[in-house]
Amino acid sequence: MLRMEGVSKSYHHRTSPVTALRDANIEMNRGDYVSIVGPSGSGKSTLLLMLGGMLSPTGGRVYVDGRSLYDMTPNERAAFRKKNVGFVFQTFNLVPYLTAVENVQVPLFLAGTDEATQRDHASSLLGRVGLGDRLDHKPSELSVGQQQRVALARVLANDPGIILADEPTGNLDPETGRQVIEFFDELNKEGRTIVIVTHDPRAAERAKTTLRLVNGTVLNGKAESGRAEHA
């Protein structure tokens, strides 16, 4: 379903060439739960962005369901993301001037859903993450844990098959982090593909497959530790 073939990414920082990712070959199937680990600057986030159609590679190809993602136009990729991909960010990236329910409505608005349905669906999603009583709160009026839960509700708005998360527990206290990890487990059980970039060993261990990156190189593409070991 998700496949990278010989993908590399390099750019110039001032005058020096920097290689963020080199010759990555990865394959993930529908319903996989993959964690990507590695030291800072090893290319984890670069890889995640490429899987989400947000960053074009210097070399190689990225396929989703057999379609080459970067042979699409930018607007086609945006349409693809709208329908198939949900992003979760370390700093949540909520729109600060919108309320919780309006933030969750954004993907629905982009998908052309009518306003009444947007509001109903967004409210029920916030109810699912335990924020049914915080619909009209702005992000600044919510705790960081609550903000991440709004972001998780937003991810689910268009019912994506693929969820890409970049350090989703990085800014959270251990208890809230645990809740978020459990939420990802739940989403995976629903059949969604989860790819999570993390420094958090607990989050990484919950994945079925762990990919390790060092200096832009994927060291292994095989499952290292299954969830069964930790169950």
Binding site: S45, A78, N93, P107
Partner: protein, 407 residues
């Protein structure tokens, strides 16, 4: 959630940052609406004042001089009255009023006064309409026209002779007397006058003009021609012409049409009107340029800063599936709202200022001009959209991954 909800909420979230550029466009439109409004009524007022100075083109016999004209146009030589018909039937642009005159000295109650024959406007109109052509069938030229100004500018019927050199109606037994005649001879409206053996009824006494007109008694032209046995001749034709048309060669055209007459421009009058109009037009243009530059630069600057500040938000929207057109529309809609509110607000405040301060600053009555609202909104929206175009395009072309600092 709609696009306008996103735009509206963002505007209110960061209203302080928006305030400067909004003020630039709002105050700019206010200033230009106020100036345009005052200018419009100032031009009318100036035109009215210049009308009071009299005609700006004279058609005289070949041998006559301007001095002859100012000494009551009683030169010996005459020109045919047919010239008047010829002019009124012509297709010349810019002839607002024609006034043929025949003047003779007469004695009245032991004093010497000037008896001047004039032709009322109704007789031109009747002839022109009968012929189906000429100056009275053309749309109003507008130069020096004060009929669309509120009532305060409308002179009494008979006083149009002083201001516009014509009157609409004058019966063959009616007379109008100048201010000096009225004062010296004690003649009043409704009195009878005996002139050259005929009796006339005074239908109006004219206001003081400070010119030779104050010593005149005006009666119907054809009556004077009949009384003096001179036939269908006149001493002069006074023309109130449109100053712009005079500048564009109206005098030469009249000269060509009437080669046996002398055509003279009263240059001071024409120059003053043309200069005033140019000055007003230049003032408006200067303000227009200032508002385009200052308002446009301020909005563009704000929009660029806004795009930079919202890079992460733009990247998030793109990650959620927003295409470049959504981002582009988001910023253009913001520019449109800014322009609309600035334009309408600027029109309202500009009109209030013009109506309130116009009389104090320029000494004229200023009325609201509803037509300016479209102009103001069009200008404001145009500036805001043009200024927002490049920042909006930059936003739509942002690299989404470069907008996330933590990545």
């Amino acid at each position: 959630m709609r696009l306008r909800t996103l735009v509206w909420r963002e505007i209110f979230e960061r209203k302080n940052q928006l305030a400067t550029s909004f003020l630039a466009i709002f105050l700019g439109v206010t200033a230009i609406v106020a100036i345009k409004n005052i200018t419009f009524y100032s031009e009318k007022a100036v035109a009215r004042e210049l009308d009071a100075l009299g005609a700006n083109i004279l058609v005289l016999p070949k041998s006559a001089t301007v001095q002859d004209y100012y000494s009551a146009d009683m030169q010996e030589e005459t020109i045919p009255e047919a010239y008047v018909t010829q002019l009124s039937m012509s297709d010349l642009q810019g002839l607002d009023n024609l006034s043929p005159k025949l003047s003779v000295p007469v004695g009245l109650m032991g004093r010497r006064v000037i008896l001047t024959g004039i032709l009322p406007k109704c007789e031109f109109q009747a002839k022109a309409m009968w012929e189906g052509a000429g100056i009275f069938t053309r749309p109003d030229e507008g130069c020096g026209d004060i009929t669309d100004v509120p009532d305060v500018f409308k002179p009494p019927v008979k006083e149009t002779l002083v201001r516009q050199r014509v009157i609409d109606n004058l019966e063959t037994d009616e007379a109008l007397v100048g201010a000096d005649v009225e004062a010296l001879l004690g003649v009043e409206e409704g009195d009878s006058l005996d002139l050259l053996g005929r009796t006339f009824k005074v239908s109006a006494a004219l206001p003081q003009t400070g010119t030779v007109d104050d010593s005149r008694v005006f009666v119907h032209l054809h009556t004077v021609q009949e009384m003096t046995d001179q036939g269908a001749v006149i001493n002069a034709i006074e023309i109130v012409g449109c100053c712009q048309e005079i500048s564009a060669g109206l005098v030469e055209k009249i000269n060509k049409m009437l080669p046996d007459a002398k055509v003279i421009t009263v240059t001071q009058v024409v120059d003053t009107q043309v200069k005033t109009n140019h000055m007003m037009a230049s003032l408006s243009t200067v303000f227009l340029v200032i508002i385009v530059l200052v308002g446009g630069a301020s909005i563009a600057n704000y929009m660029y800063a806004n795009v930079f500040e919202r890079r992460r938000e733009i990247g998030t929207l793109m990650a959620l599936g927003a295409g470049s057109s959504v981002i582009l529309r988001m910023f253009l809609l913001k520019g449109l709202l800014l322009g609309l509110v600035g334009g309408v607000g600027g029109y309202v405040l500009g009109t209030v200022l013009a109506v309130t301060f116009g009389p104090r600053l320029a000494g004229i009555v200023v009325m609201p001009m509803p037509g300016l609202v479209l102009w103001a909104v069009g200008l404001s929206v145009g500036i805001a959209l043009v200024a927002s175009c490049l920042p909006a395009r930059n936003a739509a072309r942002l690299d989404p991954c470069a907008t996330f600092q933590e990545l």
